[in-house]
């Protein structure tokens, strides 16, 4: 049995590390009662399970305040006075683990700084002399060279003849296209896909009439004296008179026997024939629900396609039980509307997410996406009675983005034919684009360039001709160029006399073509 005693600020990782290194399998662990580790039972569980995984058995003894050789870390909370129960010392070997003491270096800063500064300056003075003067002169020359090479800049604005340039093209974007095609004016669309789920609820608006059918017994009467009549289950019988139009069906197969004829001589001596119809009772149910299908006794009915004189029926005791009421149900429109609302919301969320995923120059095509419903759960089905219903939907949305630089390239290629000979498109043209229409798998974009064509200037030649020239030389040279209408040279900083010239370092010369003002 080994006893390990830890300080109040010992970390859980440190205790675990120590346990790993101990060979004994039975270990008593002493942690001070005030240790923050003991505030959380999960920490103790971690110690126990980790020890168990190592094949060790832990016993926790009640902690004491750490002994003087166990360093305490500063308690982060104001200390509350928790009495520390004393734990009797036993004869078991005890190991105290100290946290490494903080590595503090004491700086005696002020004297050290002053001493060293004085020593440094004194040494510099001792070594002064010819070498120092020579070195300083060399430094000045080197510094001057580096300054002239790297600091002065020249901004040369060339005023050039220009023509307004406006060009519009329609471009087709499609995910089926892999590369921009200047001839077909097509650019590729990059698909972006994300999955989102959401749920929402709405009030139902559908109406439905529910209730019970009227039922009862009718007596079918067959006036045919030759043959019996059989009517299958479901035969429709229609009410006459006041209830005309109300339909009922037979609940079972019914065979009505044929009627019989009898004769007698009346008081005037005339022979009278009388037909007594064959009768059979059967139960019927109204086709629709509602109180209006309840019938009073004596109500007569036409049976199937038989003529009333041949076969009819009568409700001797009436029909009853028909009831109805109107209830609110989930309608197809409700489901459609809520689905559309959720879809719109999810697509909006996804588009927002896509916005953060776009790389430099990519533009998301608004209102052009493919959606696929991955899962759609309804709390109630269409036709179910409910005041509220909800939909839980998971949607996969594919949006499309195009690269604006590809669109610009097509635009510049298209505009080339409109640029007069000897001219070129000036930088800084305004380029706009808008989606004209979206189709099944493609979009049509209207791209517009609004800028100027300016006279062509060979900037590289110009630069190499101007490098290192004095201001006068540079101005004379530019004046001699027939394609340059005017110019402006700005040298910075302004240096005296012979130093005021175009830098020899090409990276310090900036030539910009500016449209000549009207």
């Amino acid at each position: 049995m080994k006893t390990l005693e830890f300080g109040i600020g010992t970390s859980l990782a440190k205790i675990l590390s120590t346990l790993k290194g101990v060979e004994d399998n039975d270990i008593t662990v002493i942690i001070p009662r005030e240790s923050p580790l003991l505030e959380n039972p999960l920490n103790i569980k971690i110690l126990e399970k980790s020890a168990s995984d190592l094949g060790k058995s832990l016993v926790f003894a009640e902690g004491v305040r750490s002994s003087p050789n166990v360093e305490e870390e500063p308690n982060l909370e104001p200390k509350t006075a928790i009495p520390s129960p004393s734990v009797p010392t036993n004869s078991l070997p005890t190991h105290s683990f100290e946290e490494p003491s903080s590595n503090v270096t004491n700086f005696n800063i002020a004297p050290s700084f002053v001493d060293r500064l004085l020593r440094f300056l004194a040494k510099k003075v001792r070594h002064s002399g010819i070498f120092l003067i020579g070195g300083v002169a060399l430094l000045f020359l080197l510094g001057g060279y580096l300054f002239l090479e790297n600091v002065p800049t020249a901004a040369i604005n060339l005023y050039l003849d220009n023509q307004e340039l406006i060009k519009e093209i329609t471009v087709t974007g499609s995910p089926l296209v892999s590369e921009p095609d200047p001839l077909k004016k097509e650019i590729p669309l990059t698909p972006l896909t994300a999955t989102k789920s959401s749920s929402d609820s709405a009030k139902t608006t559908g109406k439905k009439t529910v209730g019970t059918s009227a039922t009862g017994t009718v007596t079918l009467r067959n006036y045919n004296t030759v043959t019996a009549k059989t009517f299958p289950k479901g035969t429709v019988i229609k009410a006459t008179d006041a209830l005309e139009g109300a339909k009922y069906i037979l609940d079972q197969v019914v065979t009505v026997p044929q009627g019989s004829t009898s004769s007698h001589i009346d008081s005037s001596g005339k022979k009278i024939n009388e037909t007594d119809p064959g009768r059979k009772d059967a139960t019927v149910t109204s086709v629709e629900v509602g109180t209006k299908y309840n019938a009073s006794s004596g109500q007569t009915f036409v049976v199937g396609t038989e003529g009333f004189e041949n076969v009819n029926a009568v409700a001797s005791a009436g029909l009853s039980g028909g009831t109805s009421k109107e209830v609110t149900v989930v309608s197809e429109t409700d489901v459609k509307n809520l689905t559309e609302k959720l879809t719109k919301q999810l697509v909006g969320n996804v588009n927002q997410e896509f916005g953060g995923k776009l790389s430099q120059g990519q533009k998301l095509v608004e209102g052009f996406s493919d959606t696929k419903v991955l899962q759609k759960d309804l709390t109630h089905q269409v036709g179910d009675e409910a005041e509220l219903f909800g939909i839980d939907m998971e949607l996969s949305v594919t949006g499309y983005a195009y690269n604006s630089s590809e669109l610009e390239t097509l635009l510049y290629i298209a505009v080339e034919s409109s640029v007069p000979e000897g001219y070129e498109v000036a930088q800084g043209a305004a380029i706009t684009s808008e989606v004209l229409k979206t189709e099944n798998k493609s979009i049509t974009l209207l791209a517009k360039l609004n800028g100027y064509a300016i006279t062509k200037v060979d900037r590289e030649n110009l630069m190499s001709s101007l490098k290192g020239k004095s201001l006068d030389q540079a101005e004379n040279f530019l004046r001699s160029q027939s394609n340059i209408a005017g110019f402006e040279i700005i040298l910075s900083p302004s240096l005296p006399g012979f130093l005021n010239k175009i830098p020899t370092n090409g990276s310090k010369i900036k030539i910009e073509a500016v449209k000549k003002s009207d």
Partner: protein
């Protein structure tokens, strides 16, 4: 030799410059401005085991906007660091508001989530805030929190007659099921946080459990299930979220400083949820440094110990929500400020 001396001189100059800055650290505490006390501004403080972060928010039409924020390690007494952080925030913007909410992450917080079912006899009458309050109070009082005090209570979900609804107030129906989240903490600890605010001359409006707010931000982003992990240097907080409900929150004293031991802690913390029927497949890190290393350890730990977590995905919640390292918590807490 001269080069060494020059280096030494430079070091001394740097130390001198540091010393020159010290007086501002020891200077008297910056107090929130009395003039700037408006109803729309508020302070948010996050106090966790290792850091204190403060954010100054102004409540705009759509959502609170962060004006300024600071974070500081808790290398000294809580009161000292809090005041120092407040001073640093005042240096960024002197017009600090007085109203404040404090978000805490304390291993002694006890949380309880439950579904309270309310059978309404008067189903045709509209539900009122008093009805909801009555349910919450009942649920809060019924729970045995081992002597701890209820300090935060919230409705997490509402289902009326089987349909999930956004706001039960004003709705009609017969059976209302409310998802309730309550948090409890010892009175002494709550008094401590109140004293921190009091000494800083702040009007403490509420104390909220930090992880609840984080989980809510996570859910608001459209995700319903996840294991959320905040890993500090020596502390980890794990929130287990399933079907938009907080199943449980665990903390343990292992963190990014010892990734190998941290994996062991993660395993044991997750074992407490082993009986849960359904496990999230998304592990979401937030306010965590050194995520790449910890993600690797987490992946190995999960694959080795939890058969039902093989297809797990990892993400950084800060990145997804577009927040800086410590600002995710501040933004999550600021939502509480909207209701001040």
């Amino acid at each position: 030799m001269a080069s060494d001396e020059l280096k030494q001189l430079l070091r001394d100059i740097i130390i001198w410059r540091m010393l020159l800055k010290l007086p501002s650290f020891f200077s008297s505490k910056k107090q929130p401005s009395q003039e700037s006390k408006t109803s729309d501004d508020f302070l948010v403080a996050e106090i966790n085991q290792e850091k204190i972060s403060l954010g100054f928010f102004t409540d705009q039409d759509t959502k609170p906007a962060l004006v300024a924020s600071v974070t500081e390690d808790r290398k000294a007494d809580l009161f000292v660091v809090f005041n120092s952080s407040l001073g640093a925030l005042a240096e960024k913007n002197p017009n600090l508001p007085n109203r404040a909410i404090i978000g805490i992450n304390d291993p002694k917080i006890e949380t309880m989530t439950t579904i309270a079912r309310l059978n309404r006899e008067k189903m045709h009458e509209e539900m009122t805030s008093e009805d909801i309050e009555r349910v919450l109070t009942q649920v809060g009082e019924d729970y045995n929190a081992h002597g701890k005090q209820l300090f935060f209570s919230s409705v997490t979900s509402a289902v009326l007659d089987g349909v999930r609804i956004g706001n039960p107030i004003g709705a009609r129906g017969s059976v209302l099921e409310l998802g309730c989240f309550n948090a409890y903490l010892e009175k002494e600890k709550l008094d401590l946080y109140e004293k921190v605010a009091q000494e800083a001359k702040l009007d403490l409006e509420k104390i909220v459990p930090l992880e609840y707010c984080i989980v809510r931000a996570f859910l608001d982003s459209g995700t319903k299930d996840g294991i959320l992990l905040r890993i500090l240097k020596d502390f980890t907080t794990l929130s287990f979220v399933e079907e938009s409900n907080i199943v449980g929150v665990k903390t343990f004293s292992l963190g990014s400083s010892e990734p190998d031991f941290w994996g062991e802690g993660l395993k044991i913390a997750l074992q407490d949820f082993s009986q849960h029927p359904r496990w999230p497949t998304l592990v979401s890190f937030y306010d965590t440094e050194n995520q790449a290393v910890l993600e690797k350890v987490a992946k190995e730990t999960l694959e080795k110990n939890f058969a039902n977590l093989k297809e797990v995905r990892f993400e950084n919640l800060n990145t997804r929500l577009g927040f800086a390292q410590f600002e995710a918590s501040l933004y999550a807490l600021s939502v509480e400020g909207e209701t001040l």
